[in-house]
């Protein structure tokens, strides 16, 4: 008996010892800086000088005076609202197509997943810049039809559109999750439905879609969180400034510019916290509304 207890305690101790590296890392590298940034968000910290307490000054300036902050919020919101649904619809369509027992499925799955792995990278952003440049591939193709295209990435009217396209193109990750979700739906449902005379569309609407809502919900929350934090694409495609004329000024890019270009680290920290609250709020709303449209097979 006592031997077991001693053993258990020893095991627990060993577990803590093995947990320690991770835990120390978490405290020093994650929790510490997070709390420090909360403190800094109430200061005028410039990186080069000691921080001075300014209370809510940063937050007040952000919402009342800083027109670029509002502009960056606008650009980011448009980006999220347009690109996330488009990306999910695209992912779902491809998942449905791939789910029809295609031969070489794993090959196609990998191919379509590839952009998701690459999409956030610097290399792809540079490639995008080239493709949508005024002498780029897109305009080259358009020229074949006698159309003279604009410089897509350097025209403020179209620049954000190219970034949205880049995001939609990285549909692979949600697609793979959709595929897994589709596999979870019992075939017997479809068999029963077709016996009752339901067509493909009807089956999709009444079986696939409802049973897939938990997956859609999951993908939606994940992608909204991810796209609010997009940085690389706009940083590279706009050449680091969110241009032309602030048309691609993502929230995180503006945060970075404030912190590292204007030396307003306190302000940047405050922006990070506003972003955190914003994302937490949106996620909260998604969870609250989910009970009205997400259907879990096991509840009722």
């Amino acid at each position: 008996m006592s031997y077991v207890n001693v053993h258990k305690r020893r095991e627990a101790r060993a577990a803590y010892v093995f947990l320690a590296p991770w835990f120390i890392g978490l405290l020093l590298v994650t929790v510490g800086p997070i709390l420090a940034s909360l403190y800094l968000s109430f200061t005028d910290y410039s990186l080069l000088e000691e921080a001075q307490w300014v209370g809510l000054g940063n937050y007040r300036e952000m919402f009342l005076e800083d027109t670029r902050f509002i502009a960056s919020l606008r650009v980011t919101t448009i980006y999220v609202i347009v690109s996330v649904p488009l990306q999910l619809i695209f992912a779902l369509i491809l998942a449905l197509a791939l789910d029809r027992g295609l031969r070489g499925l794993s090959f196609y799955r990998s191919v379509y997943y590839l952009p998701s792995l690459l999409g956030g990278s610097v290399a792809i952003a540079i490639l995008w810049r080239k493709i949508f440049g005024s002498d780029g591939l897109v305009n080259g193709v358009l020229a074949l039809f006698g159309i003279e295209g604009p410089g897509w990435v350097s025209d403020p009217d179209t620049a954000l559109g190219t970034l949205i396209l880049l995001h939609v193109w990285t549909f692979g990750a949600p697609m793979v999750i959709f595929l897994a979700g589709l596999r979870q739906i019992p075939q017997s449902f479809y068999e029963a439905a077709s016996v009752d005379g339901a067509g493909t569309l009807r089956q999709f609407r009444s079986i696939t879609l409802p049973l897939l809502t938990p997956i859609i919900f999951f993908n939606l929350v994940l992608e909204v969180i991810k796209s609010f934090q997009s940085f690389t694409q706009s940083f590279i495609v706009s050449g680091g400034g969110g241009g032309p004329a602030d048309s691609t000024l993502f929230y995180t890019l503006y945060l970075y510019l404030k912190g590292f270009k204007s030396y307003e680290m306190g302000y940047a920290a405050a922006m990070a916290w506003v972003l955190l609250l914003l994302i937490a709020g949106l996620t909260g709303v998604s969870f609250l509304t989910s009970k009205y449209w997400v259907f879990y097979g096991d509840t009722k």
């Binding site: 053993h7 120390i24 080069l48 000088e49 005024s134 990435v153 032309p244 004329a245």
Partner: protein, 428 residues
């Protein structure tokens, strides 16, 4: 399964390793530890190309050979990430002992107490005193200029010839004439665009000076909205007459360096660049370029051009080895041996003796720049370090200029917005 005492020993060892590495990670990098065998080690931070890194490593070796007790560690990064790196290191109390800084960052760093006063520590008697003054803030010599540049008009004579145009008389030409020439060159159908414009604050500074206004007047913008608007009118005129590419195409080219520019790719005849960029333009285009004076505003009494230090050497205020840091800076600006390696990489040397010693070794392009600068020297305006916050000026100017050229804002509104944003940036 029983834990042997050996296992316990292992876990303890593992844990202590973890604790030690984290502890040393926190305390690490304080820099300047008294190095082995009595040497003092200092860090020298700079940005630039691979070519500059090679030259700098070479010059560091020369310095170490002359000063066997000093160990210099070059800390190199690309321009894009340079200030982030420096700012972070300063914040972490780990500032490099010697830092390169360009003129727009000078007030930022000196004003925030990051730089040491070098007066009397680095001999400066042989340096061009007027240029040297640009490294002073409130009477303290925080920075020593590495060399000088002038923002000027660069023309490709071959491209002009192709369009059957002659090199203009640059002592008296006006912006209108320049834009007219650009239009004519584009219109010849030789495939060469007349000119490329830019939003470099140096361009606006020169233009404002020609209208009798200062870009910076102390901690305020000294330009009127009228000046900014008529400066944009030059750009608009170029676009309308096709003397330059349209706004989108220009934005695309503008965000890249001299190698990708119209001049650099033999697709344009004229552009405005810093004189030390002549090298890159010449190399990438394979053409011999000519430096010209900037055109003037109608009725201007001054050309408004100015010499600007390519960059400065500065020392950290918190360096543990200020004497050694000063010694390195002294070597870099005053020793002909250093200049023999660096040549004009950091601008043309301003030390008259050093310049005389290396003059003949300078490549042809630099000889040309030197001749040009000496020719226009008497017409140049004095330089001043722009106020704190000037690092942001280029972004602010570009943003508002783009809004005008893309038709997103009226020149009136944009000029007001530019002035208020610019004033806010430098007010702090």
């Amino acid at each position: 399964m029983k834990f042997s005492s050996r296992t316990t020993t292992w876990t303890v060892a593992l844990l202590s390793v973890v604790v030690m590495t984290t502890a040393s990670a926190c305390g690490g990098g304080s820099g300047g530890d008294p190095a082995e065998n009595g040497k003092v080690s200092i860090v020298f931070a700079y940005w630039g190309s691979d070519a500059r890194q090679k030259l700098t490593e070479e010059v560091i070796k020369k310095f170490e050979a002359k000063n066997p007790t000093i160990d210099v560690e070059g800390d190199f990064s690309s321009w894009d990430s340079y200030y982030e790196k420096i700012a972070t290191k300063v914040a972490a109390n780990d500032a490099p002992d010697v830092m390169s800084i360009e003129i727009r960052g000078l007030s930022e760093y000196a004003g925030r107490g990051a730089l040491a006063d070098l007066s009397g520590k680095v001999p400066a008697a042989d340096l061009d005193q007027q240029v040297l003054a640009s490294g002073q803030i409130k009477g303290k010599q925080y920075a020593v200029p590495t060399g000088v540049n002038a923002f000027s008009m660069v023309a490709n004579p071959a491209a002009l010839e192709k369009a059957k145009k002659e090199l203009p008389e640059d002592t008296s030409w006006t912006w209108d004439q320049w834009a007219g020439l650009a239009k004519e060159i584009s219109a010849t159908g030789s495939g060469v665009t007349g000119a490329e414009y830019n939003f470099n604050p140096a361009f606006l500074q020169i233009y404002a000076a020609q209208r009798g206004e200062k870009f910076y007047d102390g901690n305020k913008i000294g330009m009127s909205a009228e000046t900014v608007k008529s400066w944009w009118a030059i750009h608009q005129k170029l676009i309308e007459t096709k003397g330059s590419p349209d706004a989108a195409k220009s934005a695309e080219i503008g965000s890249t360096g001299p190698e990708q520019s119209l001049l650099g790719t033999n697709a344009g005849a004229m552009g405005m660049w810093w004189s030390n960029q002549l090298n890159a333009l010449t190399k990438s285009s394979g053409q011999e370029m000519t430096l010209l004076r900037m055109p003037k505003a109608e009725g201007a009494t001054t050309g408004g051009m100015f010499l600007q230090p390519a960059m400065f050497y500065t020392a950290s205020a918190k360096s543990e080895h200020p004497a050694e840091a000063a010694k390195l800076i002294d070597f870099l600006v005053n020793d002909p041996d250093a200049a023999a390696t660096l040549l004009s990489d950091r601008g043309l040397p301003t030390n008259a003796k050093v310049l005389a010693a290396v003059k003949d070794k300078l490549p042809a392009v630099d000889q040309k720049t030197l001749t040009f600068i000496e020719e226009v020297k008497s017409e140049l305006s004095p330089i001043q370090a722009p106020p704190k916050g000037a690092l942001e000026m280029e972004d602010i100017l570009q943003r508002n200029s783009e809004e005008v050229l893309f038709g997103k804002a009226t020149p009136d509104a944009a000029a007001q917005k530019f002035l208020s944003e610019a004033n806010a940036a430098i007010a702090g």
